[in-house]
Structures are given as C-alpha cells and as structure tokens.
C-alpha cells in the first residue's frame, strides 16, 4: 500500500465508469492506430504500384538548341554540342550516389530507325529486366515463348515478368523483339514468327496490348543487339530511372546524379513525381489530422471526467489535506488516476487498432505487395504518447484538486 493505492481503489470503486471511459478513450486510439496502419500499408502498396507505373527521373545527353531561320523562313531547332551517353558511365554514375539504395531501376534506351521487314521503323533498344521493372503495366501477348539468344547467366534467378497477366519466369533473349500493337499491324508481325531487322533474323516474342501511347508504334528489342546492329557499342539515347519510395527525396537524388554526371541532363519528371507523392502524402496528412482531432477530443473527455471527479471528491481531498498530504501529493493522485486510464486505453486501443487494421486490409484486399508490420517501438511510442496526453488532460483538474483549501472542503459538507 502506498500513495497510488487511493486512486487505484477509487478507479475500482467506479469500475463501470472507469471501464466506459477507458472504452471511449480506447475507441479514439483504435481509430488512430487503425488509420495509421491502414494508411501506412495502403501507402506502401500504392507506392509500389505507382513505382511500377514508370520512371521518375530522366537522364538525357546534354545538348544546346538553336532556333535557325533565314530570309524569314524558319528552319526549326538545331541541336549542337551533343554529348553522347554511355551506358556504363550512366549506370556507374547513378549507382555511385549517396541515395543509391533508393534506386529501384535504371532503364537505358537506344532509339534508332531501322529496317524492319524492309520498312523503316522506329526501334527501341531496351534492357528487358530493367525495362519491365518500370513497365509492369505492359500486357504482352506472347507465344509459347522460348528465349532466343538468351545467355542464362545474364538474368538474375528471381527475374519474373508479367506475361499474359500471369507471373511466370519467362525471359526475353537478345534476339527477341516485342512489337507495339500498331507497329505489329503495320509491319505484319505476329507472335512466334520470325522477322528480319537490318538483315538479321529476330523472333517476335510478343505483341503489346494497345495502350494508346507512343509505345503502340514502336518495336522493342534488346539494347545490346541494337547497339551491334547500329555499330554503336555502349551508346544510349536516354535513360529512365525509377526511384520512388517512401519519402523519397527526388530533388536530392536528382542533384546527386547531376553531381555524379556533370555533362549530362538529369531532370525529375516533376508532375509525375509530385502527383505520386501528393497522393501518398495526402493520405498520411489526412490520417495525421484525424488522429490529432481524435486525440484532442479524447483529451477533453478525460479532462471533463477528471474535473467531475475532483468536484465529487472534494471532501476526500479535504480529509487528505487535513492529514498532511501536500498539494503535490494530491496533484499526483489525480494525475496517476488519469495515467492509469490513459495507459490501459493505450494498450487496449493499440492492440484493437492493430487487429482492426489487419482485418480491414484483409477484407478490402488493400495489401497488394505490402503487409502490416508490427513494430514494438510503435506500441511503446503510442502508449507513451497516450500517457503524456492523459497526464496533460488531467493537469487542470489535478491543479484544481491540489489547490482545494482543506477547511473549505470539509466545512462545505
């Protein structure tokens, strides 16, 4: 038995009222914890999905443009002082930055005009694995495809791509091509057939489903194969880099790549990045605001309860003061009572909130590629915050209790 026996006994006496208050306070914490976990998991899932929808940093060769006109006739823009991009230089440059662990894909491209089935057509050389990391929205209609010219050791074992909407370990080889939907029609390319590009035979590994983008009119092939065909070893036209992740500092990543590759243009695809980040941050900020409102309401509720408790127990306070209990001790009694309610609400609310979040995510199937992670630190932090909030809520009532004049409290009765 010590000082805290009194508040504990009092809480037990008013068990129903204490339970109700704890329940209501817990409900607030359930909302906060539940919303946090749902938003964090959905945000993570969203980011993964958004990341899969393309790159957010563009690396291009540096060039100067000049608007040329003569005798009143415009001759359009003339590019000069063009620096060629080298695949290895770009790759090494990007992977040497401080934020290299935030880079999820480096997809180089060589854009050339080539003779396909005797027709001049735009052909894009790509790195199959890197490209498919950022083009997961591609729907490729493949034949019973076997890789042509594939060197097995050049692909990681874990490489998997979405083919026919199903995940399997299909791989594209050096002499495989994929045709955009319009390109396939114009060039008469069919999946599983062979075709000639610059006099060399290639296998049509698949045809892209129509997407309504530039990609419909392009033919995609392995970048090294195109470099060989065009005698441009290591050369790339531009490189797309995907670096979207939770709280990714895109501007800092761009600045670091610029430092690493000084003669090359590096630009953040701002609109895309901002839109993605806005979506993710909006959800997080919304949760933050709602959590704040819930906590403030819970705080006021507890303060009102404590205020009523002080008014109701004025004679008790008077008696304790007449026994020599100091003002500080009286303050501690009421703060401790509030702390007990806060701590139990925090523990119960966190457990129930976590469970609720898991159930919501399961029922609504929102966890594509993301999972709810239980962090003991989150539990400690949540309970800690709730304890601080509950003590803060009891400050005014506890001060009122501590300042009660013993004689007036006793005479009053």
């Amino acid at each position: 038995m010590n000082l805290f026996t009194i508040p504990l006994k009092n809480l037990r006496r008013k068990l129903l009222r204490t339970a109700m208050l704890t329940l209501v306070f817990s409900a607030g914490i359930i909302s906060v914890v539940g919303l946090y976990y749902v938003s964090a998991t959905v945000g993570e899932s969203l980011e993964q999905k958004l990341t899969a929808y393309g790159a957010n940093i563009l690396i291009r060769p540096h060039s100067e443009n000049l608007d040329v006109s003569y005798g009143g006739f415009s001759m359009g823009n003339m590019s000069y002082n063009v620096h060629k991009l080298d695949m290895d230089t770009v790759h090494d440059g990007v992977m040497s930055i401080g934020y290299k662990d935030r880079i999820s894909a480096i997809a180089p491209k060589l854009l050339e005009s080539s003779s396909v089935n005797g027709k001049e057509f735009a052909v894009v050389g790509i790195n199959w694995i890197e490209e498919l990391k950022i083009k997961s929205y591609w729907y490729i209609d493949t034949a019973d495809h076997e890789p042509h010219g594939q060197e097995p050791e050049s692909l990681p074992e874990t490489a998997e791509m979405v083919v026919d909407g199903l995940e399997h370990g299909s791989e594209f080889g050096k002499y495989d091509i994929i045709a955009g939907n319009t390109a396939a029609k114009l060039l008469g390319l069919e999946k599983g057939r062979e075709t000639e590009i610059e006099g060399k035979t290639f296998n049509v590994a698949g045809v892209l489903a129509p997407m309504g983008t530039d990609e419909d009119r392009l033919v995609f092939m392995d970048i090294t194969a195109l470099q060989e065909l065009k005698n441009k070893p290591g050369e790339v036209t531009f490189v797309e880099v995907s670096a979207l992740c939770s709280g990714c500092p895109i501007d800092d990543i761009v600045a670091q790549i610029k430092l690493s590759l000084p003669d090359i243009d590096v630009t953040a695809m701002q609109s895309v990045v901002k839109q993605r980040m806005f979506t993710v941050n909006f959800v997080k900020n919304l949760v933050l605001v709602i959590s704040g409102v819930i906590l403030v309401i819970a705080c006021f509720m507890l303060a009102v309860f404590m205020m009523a408790s002080v008014a109701e127990r004025k004679s008790e306070i008077g008696i304790l003061r007449s026994m020599g209990y100091s003002r500080a001790k009286i303050f501690c009694l009421f703060s401790f009572e509030s702390l007990v309610i806060g701590a139990s609400s925090g523990l119960a609310g966190f457990a129930a909130g976590y469970f609720t979040a898991v159930k919501i995510l399961e029922k609504m199937e929102l966890t594509d590629g993301a999972a709810v992670h239980f962090e003991p630190a989150h539990l400690l932090l949540s309970v800690g915050i709730v304890c601080v909030v509950s003590i803060a809520a009891s400050v005014i009532p506890a001060l009122k209790a501590a300042r009660t004049e013993p004689a007036s409290a006793i005479i009053r009765l």
Binding site: T5, I6, R13, R321, M323, L413
Partner: protein
C-alpha cells in the same frame, strides 16, 4: 504546548463581511483535554481549524512548541498535520471505497514507499483500541454510524499524534454512541494525548480539564477543572 494569540478571523460572502473571531487568546498545555464550548455560530469550529492550521487567521498567531504558524511555510504546516496533529470531524469522512483497515492506514500512504509491517500493526492496534478488532475488512457502508466515527478516531491516532483536534465528534451520533466516543477520547487523553474538542453539548464538556466558552467570536469564560 499550543498558544492561541489574539486571533481575528472574518469571512466575506456576497459582499458582506462577517466577523467570526475577535481577538481570541487561550493556551493548551501538554496532556490537557480542552473543550471549546459555544452555540452555533460562536466561532468555535473556525478557531479549531485555525489551531490545526487548516485555516489562516486574519490577524494574530498560533504558537506550537515555540514555533509560530505565521512563519511556517505550507510544507511545514503540512508536516505539522502529518506528524504532530490529527483531526476528527462531526462526519467521519471515511473513504467509502476503502475498508476500515485501509482507512486507518491512510496517514501512512502519503508517500511512494509502501507501508511497512510496523505501520500495518499500528493500524490493527488502533482499530482494536477503539473496539473494532475483527471488523478491519468491512467497508464504511457495512459499519454503524458509531463504528464509522470510531474508525475515524483510529485513523487519527494511528500515527501517534501529540495533539488531537476533534470538531463535534459526537454531533452526528446518538447518546450511546456519543458516550462511547467520549470515553475513547477520555481514555486517549489519560494515556497522554492532548485533546482539543469543539462541542455544543455541555454534558461532554465535563470530560475536559479546561472549558473555553465562546460567544460571538469572543472568549466568554475559561474554566479550569481542579485536579
């Protein structure tokens, strides 16, 4: 032991000043049983509250063992009430959610350190002294009015105070229970406890060595019983 020196006290309510005490002086010696007698509104309870440091006087001072209350800090008056003095009231003011034993333990629960075995023994002894042995685990609601007041007395004496202030301790009791309470107080006084009691019942003033009669905030008379 305790000297009341020219105490003045007034209350202000709704803009009206009511003078309750007008320069009251008296002395309480160690081991004495002092009775403050008077009609309702004579200022006896106010005087008792000032003597026990629950209330501050407007003017004048209380001197306890050569120390003036006016010079004391709040923590020192708290310590006075915790270590030197004890109080009982007309209404027992027991914590309704605590057993008789737990109520008696209250003076020992003002710290973070758990109450020791010795303190628990003192509580059992105090309850036995007021005739409540065997009823330690009962809640106040399971005790009669007289028994509840006896628990309040046990709570007051458990810390072995030097002086006990009793404000109308029999005021809410019937004759039999009132007599029982007075006998307990008389016995405690005989064991050496200084008692200052407020009452309006002249019968009970007979237990006191010194009877101070108050009227309209003034000391009307001080009668000392010869030994």
């Amino acid at each position: 032991m305790l000297k009341v020196d020219n105490i003045y006290k007034s209350y202000v309510g709704s803009g009206v000043v009511t003078q309750v005490l007008n320069g009251v002086s008296l002395e309480v010696n160690r081991g004495e049983f002092v009775c403050l007698l008077g009609r309702s509104g004579s200022g006896k309870s106010t005087l008792l509250n000032i003597m026990s440091s629950l209330l501050d006087a407007d003017k004048g001072d209380i001197i306890y063992m050569e120390q003036t209350f006016r010079g004391m800090k709040r923590c020192e008056t708290d310590r006075f009430r915790r270590e030197e003095a004890a109080m009982i009231f007309q209404f027992h003011h027991l914590m309704p959610y605590m057993t008789a034993f737990e109520n008696v333990m209250l003076p020992f629960l003002s710290g973070l350190r758990p109450a020791g075995k010795e303190q628990k023994t003192s509580a059992y002894e105090a309850l036995a002294k007021v005739g409540l042995a065997g009823k330690e685990k009962r809640l106040p609601s399971q005790l009669s009015g007289g028994e509840q007041q006896r628990v309040a007395i046990a709570r007051a004496i458990v810390g072995k105070p030097a002086i006990l202030f009793a404000d109308e301790p029999t005021g809410s009791l019937d004759k039999a229970n009132g007599d029982a309470v007075m006998k307990i107080l008389s016995d405690l006084n005989k064991e050496g406890l200084t008692v200052v009691m407020v009452t309006h019942q002249r019968d009970y003033a007979a237990y006191a060595h010194k009877v101070v009669e108050l009227s309209d905030g003034n000391v009307d008379s001080i009668k000392v019983k010869s030994a």
